[in-house]
């Protein structure tokens, strides 16, 4: 499909449609910020109240795997940006390649995350499922780990949805759905992908780095 084939009937032209899609995604991301914001607010309150216990608990996270994952996710943002650029240029093959690459890197992130979760399970550090902690402040260490699991799994859920979304885009690109005139879905999905990365950029220091200084 080229040009006007992609124009929905409620819009006057593709420019208007593009603008609507973009604004829609920004508004959605505002909602997402507030969605994570509730958790960040709770984290901040307890971090201030129980700073010692939180630092202590942070030592039990795997700093190496966390750092690798940060690098992995930033790389995926780069490939996503390449995908959007190639979509704008109308280069179909490169678009598909970069979309697939982004998906793969995202999956690597999830794989590392699952490994981390498995380690936590072996160490009896999963609140509500398997938890035994002998050190000081066991309750508050558990609080920290609740935040760790809720925030990172919510992040992983978003990433999983993102990978699915890119899969659909790659399929549509393969079918020749996009062109240099019509690439709004790629661009808005890119916004979503970068948002997930930014959330991680906040999660990583708050969860992994607070015990290290």
């Amino acid at each position: 499909m080229e040009g006007n084939g992609a124009l929905a009937e409620q819009f006057d032209d593709l420019a208007q449609q593009h603008e609507a899609a973009s604004l829609g995604m920004w508004v959605f991301l505002v909602t997402e910020i507030l969605f994570f914001g509730g958790l960040f607010a709770g984290y901040t309150v307890y971090r201030a109240t129980y700073s010692e216990a939180f630092r202590e608990a942070s030592h039990h996270l795997d700093l190496l795997l966390g750092s690798i994952n940060t690098a992995v996710l930033i790389t995926s943002s780069l490939t996503m940006a390449f995908a959007v650029h190639n979509a704008q240029e109308g280069r179909r093959r490169a678009l598909i390649v970069f979309l697939l690459l982004t998906m793969i890197i995202g999956a690597v992130f999830l794989g590392i995350k699952v490994t981390e979760y498995a380690h936590k399970y072996e160490q009896d550090l999963v609140p509500g499922i398997r938890f035994a902690y002998g050190g000081p402040h066991p309750g508050q260490v558990q609080l920290f780990l609740i935040f760790y699991f809720v925030m990172t799994s919510l992040h992983a859920l978003h990433l999983t949805i993102g990978i699915g979304l890119l899969g659909v885009l790659a399929f549509l690109a393969w079918r020749g759905h996009f062109s240099a005139d019509y690439y709004a879905p790629v661009e808005t999905s890119g916004l979503y992908w970068h948002f997930i990365d930014i959330v991680w950029i906040f999660l990583f220091p708050l969860l992994y780095l607070i015990g290290t200084h």
Binding site: L23, F28, P127
Partner: protein, 541 residues
């Protein structure tokens, strides 16, 4: 102006037939009607719970239902009425129908998303109805921890999931409105030519976008705590139940404005149309909507004056709560000034609008009692609070909603409703409402606490008055249901503009064609150009 008024040959209702043509429609007008049917049903479910509560409270003894049942009744009533009726009411029905029409667009920006919102809404409603059928939830609509997360054995998780899902539906509708209002206005329709209904929808959508996700995550944490026994709000681990209240009211206070701002938008339309006069202070009303949306985010602590929050926080919240009354008062004064020297006609939508102004004023002023620290401590968790917020939500939001339904009924269906019956029911709703809830102010001030199914004998007279009022109010809600359904088929054809109103929605036929306008309208003047020569207001009879 045509001498005989007929229903146009083809319009959005008859363009296609069959269940599929409705369930798969992306027409914002049809989706509005899907919502109308759904929330009307849910309104009567929530209403049924209220009927049982008022029957129980006829006598001081707890003789009709057990206290456990009573707890489930008020929880069901609150949950259904707040999330499944009041919050969706005006945005999803009137907003869906009118936002594109008022701005001269063919549809919302994302029609399929709009339909998806309805399906998500249905899914959330089914969860909640399922909870009611299998045994209910007894936490109240506020789900306070640690009761909701640790102690109750009722269906908290399913109830919370239902609310989480329906929150998504609101968010997607709000997103659709924001984008549509930004991007799809007709040529010449600048921000300050927009009808005030649109400003109100815009402000409401902003609140929904910003507040609802916080509720979603907070209730998710409650569900997790209930399921796994992990405790973000559990004092045994060092968790803080007060944090739950902060997060909950960070959503739920702005939610009050989600419920009442759209009704204010409706009233702005009705007041001008039936006093044949330009609105007084257009930009003040427009900006007061925005001011309410903004300040409304910083007053949540007034729900927590006795929760153990610091006294300094309480003072600041008290001050800010006083502040939010100012833009509300600006609206009331402007509506009143619009009436001044207008040529007022008392048709039924106008009766609802005037009812709104009076009842909302009482609700708002008693809100100031509650925002004052000293008075609040005396009346916290009493019927005074119940009466206060019902004056806002029922006296305000529901009156606005019904006024709007009547006003735009000819546009939606192409037919007029029986005016005599409509006036009759508007009046008995007003009378029944006051008889139901005014005694509750007195009860609360005398010290009757909320959420009990029995009470000392000296409160019986006022409770009987309240229950009697509720029966009148209930009748007032059933009568419009009957005559409006009747009028959909048998009402007299309305013509494009039966009220002689301004606004783009009145410039197209009734019911409108699927794409709303034969050609995209061009706007050359401000909103509410009443007092202009008659021929400038197209159509009418």
């Amino acid at each position: 102006m045509s001498p005989t008024i007929a229903i146009p040959r083809e319009h959005y209702l008859n363009v296609s037939y069959g269940v599929k043509s409705w369930l798969f429609t992306t027409d914002h007008k049809r989706i509005a009607l899907l919502y109308l049917t759904t929330i009307t049903l849910l309104f009567f479910v929530g209403g049924a719970a209220a009927v049982l509560m008022r029957l129980e409270l006829m006598t001081p003894q707890g003789d009709l239902v057990q206290s456990e049942t009573y707890n489930k009744l008020f929880s069901t009533h609150g949950i259904i009425m707040v999330w499944f009726f009041l919050i969706p009411s005006i945005p999803t029905v009137l907003g869906n129908f009118l936002v594109p029409m008022m701005i001269g667009a063919r549809d919302l920006a994302f029609p399929r998303l709009n339909l998806a919102s309805w399906y998500i809404f249905i899914l959330g409603s089914l969860f909640t109805l399922w909870v009611i059928v299998v045994g209910g939830v007894d936490t109240g609509w506020t789900f306070y921890t640690p009761y909701s997360s640790i102690y109750t054995n009722t269906f908290v998780v399913a109830a919370v999931v239902g609310i989480f899902i329906v929150g998504f539906s609101s968010i997607l509708t709000a997103l659709n409105f924001i984008v549509t209002i930004h991007i799809m206005r007709a040529p010449g329709l600048t921000w300050f030519r927009l009808p005030l209904f649109i400003w109100a929808q815009y402000a409401t959508s902003m609140i929904i976008i910003l507040a609802t996700p916080v509720l979603a995550i907070t209730l998710s944490l409650v569900a997790l705590e209930h399921l796994f026994g992990i405790g973000i709000f559990d004092p045994a681990l060092g968790g803080d139940p007060i944090l739950f209240q902060h997060l909950f009211w960070f959503y739920s206070h702005p939610a009050v404005y989600i419920m009442v701002l759209p009704a204010m938008g409706v009233v702005s339309e009705l007041i001008t149309a039936f006093s044949r006069k330009r609105i007084f202070g257009y930009s003040f009303i427009a900006f007061s909507s925005i001011a309410i949306a903004v300040i409304g985010f910083f007053v949540w602590g007034h729900h927590m004056f006795v929760s153990g929050q610091s006294v300094y926080a309480s003072m600041i919240f008290s001050f800010l709560s006083m502040l939010v009354a100012i833009p509300s008062a600006v609206k009331v004064f402007n509506w009143t000034a619009t009436l001044y020297k207008g040529s007022i006609s008392y048709q039924s939508p106008m009766l609802y609008a005037l009812g709104f102004i009076g009842l909302f004023t009482i609700g708002g002023l008693t809100g100031l009692f509650l925002a004052s620290l000293g008075v609040d401590i005396h009346v916290t968790d009493t019927y005074f609070v119940i009466a206060h917020f019902h004056y806002i939500m029922v006296g305000g939001s529901v009156m606005g909603y019904l006024g709007g339904i009547h006003y735009w009924f000819p546009k939606i269906t192409g037919r007029m409703y029986p005016e005599g019956w409509a006036k009759f029911s508007a009046l008995i709703i007003f009378a029944g409402f006051n008889l139901t809830f005014f005694p509750q102010f007195l009860l609360g001030y005398l010290g009757m606490p909320r959420r009990y199914h029995f009470y000392p004998e000296e409160f019986q007279v006022l409770n009987v008055l309240s229950s009697a009022g509720a029966s009148i109010l209930g009748l007032g809600y059933v009568v419009p249901l009957i005559y409006l359904i009747w009028a959909m088929r048998y009402g007299a054809p309305a013509g494009p503009n039966p009220w002689g109103a301004t606004g783009l929605e009145w410039q197209t036929s009734s019911p409108p064609p699927t794409h709303n306008f034969e050609e995209t309208p061009v706007v050359t003047q401000e909103a509410y150009a009443y007092g202009m020569p008659e021929e400038d207001l197209k159509g009418g009879r």
